[in-house]
């Protein structure tokens, strides 16, 4: 009974980590960059959703759409400010610029919402009565998270494989210069990538919000877990990101249940260090661009 509970809980949080990881992979697939502000996009969108749904009483599904749109715009803005003006080979500047952006967002969130109470609660959307699936107890919101993750995964896999824009993004990631030479507007591709990555983070946040408390530092926590998932799955692989997320989520849940709850926080760090040291291309990553 404990096992199935832990498993379900692990799968749910794992799906969330997978979503955050998807955001990383989308950006990385197009730009070769890891956005250190990804966690803060998640956090900020969550707060916006709280403001829309709880404070202004807007319907949940509309909130979802608005938050995702907001996330998209935030991503585009970040690209304009912290990525486009920079020399793409100057990794130090690129990383520090997104780190700085992350902190600005975090500080803003703290100023705007953190004043009254540092932790904000989002009311449950679905009924909080658990359903029984077989002999596993599940809360409907958890199912919503899983469904949402699966949907986003499918949408983006198809996007990269079938649409022209998706292929342009892959081309840009492979060889930006060649892509530019054949007429691809690489600048626009980068902006789109950041925007989509942030939109995915926003979606993840709105799905998560009913299950957890919101606070300004939540961004960094999800950033690391999402990154652990992404790197485990291989930074080029969309399904790998989701699978990585599930693995991290389940491992975390099991470790927390069977060893000690404090070990839960440790797992993403260990995953990141171990994977990057031993097998930087992760489980499913294709030939890694120079790590």
């Amino acid at each position: 009974m404990l096992f199935s509970y832990l498993l379900m809980s692990g799968v749910t949080t794992g799906a969330l980590y997978g979503l955050v990881a998807l955001g990383f992979v989308v950006v990385n697939k197009a730009t070769g960059v890891i956005n250190f502000a990804q966690g803060e996009f998640f956090m900020f969108a969550g707060f916006i959703a709280w403001m829309l749904h709880v404070q202004l009483g807007i319907d949940y599904f509309l909130t979802f759409a608005l938050a995702v749109a907001f996330g998209f715009m935030l991503g585009c803005l970040t690209d304009r400010i912290a990525y486009r003006p920079l020399d793409k080979t100057d990794v130090v500047s690129l990383v520090l610029a997104t780190v700085g952006t992350a902190f600005v967002l975090k500080g803003l969130a703290r100023l705007i919402w953190g004043g009254k109470a540092d932790y904000l609660a989002f009311p449950p959307i679905t009924s909080s009565d658990p359903i029984m699936l077989g002999n596993v107890m599940v809360i409907p919101q958890q199912l919503a998270v899983l469904a949402g993750t699966a949907a986003i995964l499918v949408v983006f896999t198809l996007f990269f494989r079938l649409t022209r824009t998706g292929k342009m993004m892959q081309a840009t990631a492979d060889n930006a210069r060649a892509a530019a030479l054949v007429g691809i507007r690489t600048d626009r591709i980068y902006t789109l990538a950041f925007g989509i990555g942030a939109a995915i983070a926003a979606a993840a946040a709105v799905l998560t919000a009913p299950l957890t408390l919101l606070y300004p530092d939540i961004g960094f926590a999800f950033f690391l877990k999402g990154f652990a998932a992404a790197v485990l799955g291989g930074l080029n692989s969309l399904p790998g990101a989701v699978l990585g997320g599930l693995i991290v989520g389940i491992a975390e849940s099991m470790a927390g249940g069977y060893i000690h709850s404090s070990v839960m926080e440790l797992s993403p760090f260990v995953v990141i260090m171990v994977v990057l040291t031993l097998r930087p291309s992760g489980l499913f990553g294709s030939r890694m661009r120079r790590v």
């Binding site: 952006t101 975090k106 100023l111 652990a228 440790l266 990057l276 790590v291």
Partner: protein
């Protein structure tokens, strides 16, 4: 020819000011000044690693913590005197730095940043949860520090100890970066492959850079633990790391003097914003992004351009020169033949 605002003179002036400060400062101001000295040490070490050797590592705050914890725990758990625990703590931090340079060898850029970040978080976790050794979240007090037989109290004694150490370590760093070792760092930063082809051993060079930054951070940590007489997990977190990064970016990557200026200024900003944590995060974030975008070489690059006599050795990371002449030019010049 005397250059009134030359780099050497400015540094001497700062040193003079720092030496006489205790005569005019109150307890709080002295504490802040001591804090500045500690952060200058951190910034110098970090700049050697990030600015000179080009290793984008995010573990410095963790080394700072390791230095503080090691110094404190050796006193509290093993009963060592501060004068033994302090250098030992710095060496522990240096050793950890060396240790993480090994896996770091295969990683660069983003991945190095993230794995060192993960390491830093794991270290935080250990500080927080390994309660049997580290006393956990509440932290612990360290024994009071006495400078006997000298007739001076702790704040004053510690301040001058910090200042003396800073002068020595500043000069050491300055000498180092202008030497064969320093050039090897810059070579690794600017062209790893070419550096190897000239005989530079990547592992040794990177390990050295990590070890040195670990040592400087460890010294800073030991001093910090003595300043507070207290060691706890907060204070060595991500915000710390961003603070240190902004110091070296604002001051100037690839400049030891820049680290002095950057650290001093950032501490002033930090103190001015003491009451508003949210504002602190915004300000440092904006500074980081702003300087990275508009003043990549930091304050030192501005001083170098506008202040006569500011001899700053060329080490700041330069933008890539224009791309090499394409082959078409060669064909046009009649060089190529089938």
């Amino acid at each position: 020819m005397v250059a009134p605002f030359g780099r050497r003179n400015v540094l001497l002036a700062l040193f003079a000011a720092a030496s006489v400060l205790p005569a005019v400062a109150n307890v709080y101001q002295l504490f802040i000044a001591n804090l500045m000295l500690v952060y200058v040490l951190l910034a110098i070490g970090l700049n050697i690693l990030v600015g000179y050797a080009g290793q984008l590592a995010f573990a410095n705050a963790a080394m700072f913590g390791i230095g503080a914890y090691a110094t404190g725990l050796l006193q509290v758990r093993l009963g060592c005197s501060f004068w033994l625990a302090f250098p030992a703590g710095a060496l522990v931090a240096a050793a950890v730095g060396l240790a993480i340079s090994l896996p770091a060898l295969r990683l660069s850029g983003l991945y190095l940043a993230l794995s060192t970040l993960a390491f830093a978080q794991a270290t935080q976790w250990v500080f927080l949860h390994w309660e049997s050794v580290t006393f956990g979240a509440g932290g612990f007090k360290t024994p009071p520090l006495s400078f006997a037989p000298l007739p001076i109290g702790k704040p004053l004694g510690l301040y001058y100890l910090s200042l003396a150490l800073l002068v020595v370590l500043f000069q050491f760093a300055q000498n180092l970066v202008a030497s064969r070792v320093g050039r090897a760092f810059v070579a690794v930063r600017d062209g790893e492959v070419a550096a190897q082809s000239l005989g530079v051993d990547l592992l040794r060079t990177k390990a050295l850079a990590f070890g040195i930054s670990g040592f400087y951070a460890g010294i800073a940590g030991g001093l910090y633990s003595a300043m507070l007489n207290f060691v706890a997990p907060e204070g060595f977190d991500l915000f710390q790391m961003v603070l240190q990064k902004s110091m070296i970016v604002v001051g100037g990557l690839g400049s030891i003097t820049g680290s002095v200026l950057g650290a001093g200024l950032m501490i002033i900003v930090l103190e001015a914003l003491r009451a508003f944590k949210g504002l602190q995060e915004i300000v440092f974030g904006v500074l980081l992004v702003g300087f990275v975008l508009f003043m990549r070489g930091g304050l030192v690059s501005v001083l170098k351009r506008h202040v006569r006599g500011w001899e700053e050795p060329l080490r700041l990371p330069q933008r890539a020169p224009p791309a090499a002449a394409p082959r078409a030019l060669e064909a046009a010049a009649g060089g190529a033949e089938p």
